[in-house]
């Protein structure tokens, strides 16, 4: 099947309305495309990111309204949030590292099968 540069079909419920026809310089090295400008990134992702930020704020409000204490997950969450401010690069990596087990040695026995999303350092 062909996969041209024409307009997107609105497959899977996404596509057409969001499609940005971007300038591509693929005359010789075809896989290096021109990056989106900051304006284009904002046009494509701002509303989605805003929506996710409001959801985060509402989650914190909900957790703080509820009775009881913080646990290690909420503490890790706040530590991860602090990585978003400022101009440091690689924020996604910093957030993932904030939730990660920083230790190096294997544990004596698997404490079950699941992961909860944040390291319980105790």
């Amino acid at each position: 099947m062909g996969w041209g540069d024409g307009p997107l079909l609105p497959l899977f419920g996404i596509g057409g309305p969001f499609y940005l026809p971007l300038p591509c310089n693929h005359s010789d090295v075809y896989f290096v495309h021109e990056r989106m400008t900051r304006q284009q990134v904002l046009d494509l992702y701002f509303l989605d990111a805003r929506h996710k930020l409001v959801e985060l704020a509402a989650f914190l409000d909900r957790a703080e309204r509820a009775t009881g204490k913080d646990d290690f997950r909420l503490q890790a969450f706040r530590a991860a949030l602090s990585k978003l401010a400022g101009k440091k690069k690689h924020k996604a990596r910093a957030v993932l590292l904030a939730f990660s087990d920083p230790t190096a040695k294997p544990v004596a026995k698997a404490p079950g099968k699941g992961a909860v999303g944040a390291f319980n350092g105790k």
Partner: protein, 268 residues
Amino acid sequence: MRYIEPHAHMVSRTTDDYERMAFAGCAAVCEPAFWAGFDRSSPAGFHDYFCQLTEHEPRRAAKFGLKHFSWLCINSKEAEDVQLAAEVIALIPQFLDRPNVLGIGEIGLNKNSRNELRVLEMQVELAAKYQQLILVHTPHLEDKLKGTRLILDVLKNDPRIRPERVIIDHVEEHTVAMVLDRGMWAGMTLYPETKCTPARAVDILEIYGHERLWLNSACDWGVSDPLAVPKTALEMKRRGHVAAAIDQVIFQNPQKFLRQSKNFKLPK
């Protein structure tokens, strides 16, 4: 559009999913051995599963014009019982000559325990002995960073393991660089809540380039999307990636890695 789904647990999916994948341009689907969502009680349970992966599932896929390949192993979620794992590993060589088998996988770690590590070493030994490709599952969420480091150390310690014949799957922003730096392949798994989203996977491609990276849905019995790879192709297109670059990531890259197995052949 054409693509290869290099990691999908089709025994847990419906025939409707096969049809939708074929409709979206899927040329081949590769199925690593996995946890069933419950622990199997005996090696015989694994024997039947390996038969399912090498006999039944290829027939089911063929009804939709899809080539089906499989990887064999005992997964890390069932690796706490080393005795059981040893008995299962002893079953695997008899299946390695089957025509759709690509290698040993998805081996790896889950909770980074000593027994999981021991079973990982046993399966790396199996792969080295039979000169098989290796597909590695890295742990979830908070366990991923540590588990990825432990896994890379095990692989580095065996001089028979050639990095270009290993794919480390489920990488994210905090693990992708260490995998690529070792000369191994890295897989990005597209999940709705954990692992990568299409937007983040395309970010990683834009930062690290298109070499030795592939995309997969890892669809299984949990919340997952068998069309995640073509949806991410649309995300690439939305950002202005050209058709040839998209084809490289979703078709040529998995083909290049998987062709290192003599069994990986696509119809002309």
